[in-house]
C-alpha cells in the first residue's frame, strides 16, 4: 500500500459557534477518488478549504506526505490544485490571460498547452473574448481547463459540476476516473449524483463517519 498523500487526524472545526465536525480522521491515498458527502451546511466546503490551506480555523493534525503540513507549505501548495465555488476567473480578462495568470506562479506553461486545454473544454475560438461575455457554464469551463494541464498529485474540487451541461459532466467524470487510474488523488464535493467505481466516501453531519 502506498503512503497517503494527505492524512487528517482528529480534525475539528467550529463555525459561528456551531460544531461542524469533530474527530474526523481520514487518509487520501494516491490513485483514489473520494467524495465528501453531507447536507447543505454540513461543512463540505469548509472541509475542503481547510484541506486546501485557505481556512486556518481548525484543530487537529494534517499530515502532508507523513509530515505536518506547516513544515513545507510551499511544497504542499505546489502539489495541490484547489477549485472552489468562485471560479477564480477575472471577468475583464480573456480565458487565455486568465489561465496564464493562474499558472504563472506555479510552473512555466507554453501558450500552445493553454490553447489545447481551452480546446479540450470546448472553448476553442473563445480565447480572445473577455470572460464576462461568456456564460456562467463557459466561465466555469475556463477554470476547469486547468484540470487538463494540472500535474498536481492532489486535486480538491468543490462543486465542480455547477453550471456544466450533461456532456461536460460526463467528460469531467471520465477525466476524474482517468486521473485516479494514473495515480492522482481526487477529493470532490458535489450535489450531482456522482457514482464512480472505487469511489470512497467521507460523510459529514449526523452520524459522522468516514470511508
Amino acid at each position: 500500500m502506498s503512503e497517503p498523500l494527505l492524512q487528517a487526524i482528529d480534525l475539528e472545526c467550529e463555525r459561528d459557534e456551531r460544531l461542524l465536525f469533530k474527530n474526523l480522521s481520514f487518509s487520501i491515498l494516491p490513485g483514489t477518488l473520494t467524495r465528501v458527502e453531507g447536507a447543505n451546511g454540513s461543512g463540505k466546503t469548509t472541509l475542503l478549504r481547510i484541506l486546501a490551506g485557505l481556512n486556518d480555523a481548525w484543530t487537529g493534525q494534517l499530515l502532508w506526505c507523513g509530515k505536518p503540513r506547516a513544515y513545507d507549505r510551499e511544497s504542499f501548495h505546489r502539489n495541490t490544485l484547489y477549485l472552489g465555488h468562485r471560479p477564480g476567473i477575472k471577468p475583464l480578462l480573456t480565458p487565455m490571460e486568465n489561465l496564464r495568470a493562474l499558472m504563472a506562479g506555479r510552473r512555466p506553461v507554453t501558450d500552445d498547452v493553454l490553447q489545447q486545454a481551452l480546446e479540450g473544454t470546448g472553448l476553442a475560438g473563445y480565447g480572445d473574448v473577455p470572460c464576462r461575455n461568456l456564460s456562467a457554464g463557459q466561465q466555469r469551463r475556463v477554470a476547469l481547463a486547468r484540470l487538463l494541464i494540472a500535474d498536481e498529485p492532489l486535486w480538491l474540487l468543490d462543486e465542480v459540476f455547477t453550471a456544466i451541461d450533461a456532456e461536460g459532466v460526463s467528460a469531467i467524470e471520465t477525466l476524474l476516473q482517468q486521473r485516479a487510474a494514473e495515480g492522482g488523488a481526487v477529493l470532490v464535493t458535489t450535489h450531482h449524483d456522482l457514482q464512480l467505481p472505487g469511489m470512497r466516501r467521507i460523510v459529514l453531519g449526523e452520524g459522522q463517519s468516514n470511508e
Binding site: M1, S2, E3, P30, G31, A52, G53, L54, N55, D56, A57, C65, E74, S75, H77, R78, N79, T80, Y82, G84, H85, R86, P87, G88, I89, K90, P91, L92, L93, E97, R100, A101, L102, A104, G105, R106, R107, P108, P130, D151, E152, P153, E182, G183, G184
Partner: protein
C-alpha cells in the same frame, strides 16, 4: 515522499521563481486596470476637484494659497489614495482569484507586494505626475513644487503599503469604508506631517535633507513590514469567509 507506490503521477518539485510570479501578478493587475479605465480616473478626478475647491471655498488670495497649497495637495492626495484602497483586494476576493493567489506556491508577502506596487503605479504615481500642474494653480514657486513632488513620490508608496494592511483586514466586511479609514488614517498622519513639513521647510529656505531622510525611512519601514502584515491579514480574512 519516496514511496509514491508506483504511481504514475509524481510530485511537482520545480516551480517558478518568486520574481516572475510577482511580475505576473503585477502585469495582471495593470492589465485589468486598463480594461476598466474609469476606475483609474476616479482618484485623479477626486484629487483635482478637492484641490480646486479650496480657492473657491476658502480664499483665492495668493498669500493663503502659497502658505497652505502644499498641505491642501497632500491632504487631497492622501484622501484620493484612501478612496481607491477598497478596490485593492475586493474584486479579487469576489471573483475568487484571491484564493488562487494565496494558494500559489510562492511567498504570499511578495505577491502582496507586487499587488501593492501595481496599486501605487496606477493611483499614487499619476497623482505625483499631476501635482506640478495643481502646484502652479495654488501659486507655489518652482522650488516648492519640486520638493512637493519629491515628498509625494516618496510618500504615496507608503500610503499604498500601509493602506494594503487595512484593505486586507477589512476584506470580509460588507461596509468596510469607514472602518478602513479609522484604521488607516492614524497611520497616515506621520507621513502627512513630514510631507507638508518638508515643503514648509523648503519655503523658508531651511535644509530639507533631514525631512527627506525621515520620509525615506518611512518608505523602507513600510516596504519591509507592510507586505508581511497584509499577507497575514489576507489569510485571516479568507479563513473567515
Amino acid at each position: 515522499m519516496s514511496s509514491a507506490g508506483g504511481a504514475l503521477i509524481k510530485p511537482v518539485e520545480q516551480g517558478v521563481s518568486p520574481l516572475s510570479a510577482m511580475w505576473a501578478v503585477f502585469g495582471r493587475d495593470v492589465r485589468v486596470a486598463f480594461r476598466q479605465r474609469q476606475d483609474l480616473l476616479n482618484p485623479l478626478l477626486f484629487f483635482v476637484m478637492v484641490v480646486s475647491l479650496f480657492p473657491l471655498g476658502v480664499s483665492p488670495e495668493v498669500s493663503f494659497l502659497q502658505q497652505s497649497g502644499a498641505g491642501i495637495l497632500w491632504v487631497a492626495a492622501l484622501l484620493a489614495v484612501l478612496l481607491s484602497l477598497d478596490h485593492l483586494f475586493r474584486h479579487d476576493f469576489d471573483d475568487g482569484t484571491l484564493e488562487q493567489l494565496v494558494l500559489q506556491p510562492q511567498p504570499l508577502f511578495l505577491l502582496v507586494l507586487a499587488k501593492t506596487l501595481a496599486h501605487w503605479m496606477l493611483t499614487g504615481l499619476p497623482l505625483v505626475i499631476l501635482a506640478p500642474v495643481l502646484g502652479v494653480m495654488v501659486h507655489l514657486d518652482g522650488n516648492s513644487i519640486a520638493i512637493l513632488c519629491l515628498t509625494l513620490l516618496i510618500g504615496t508608496p507608503v500610503l499604498s503599503l500601509i493602506g494594503s494592511i487595512g484593505a486586507a483586514l477589512t476584506l470580509g466586511l460588507r461596509s468596510a469604508g469607514v472602518l478602513l479609514s479609522l484604521l488607516i488614517i492614524p497611520l497616515y498622519i506621520p507621513v502627512l506631517i513630514f510631507g507638508t513639513g518638508t515643503v514648509a521647510a523648503a519655503a523658508e529656505g531651511a535644509p530639507v535633507g533631514g525631512y527627506l531622510a525621515l520620509m525615506g525611512a518611512f518608505l523602507v519601514l513600510a516596504l519591509t513590514l507592510a507586505p508581511f502584515a497584509s499577507a497575514a491579514a489576507l489569510r485571516i480574512s479568507l479563513s473567515n469567509s
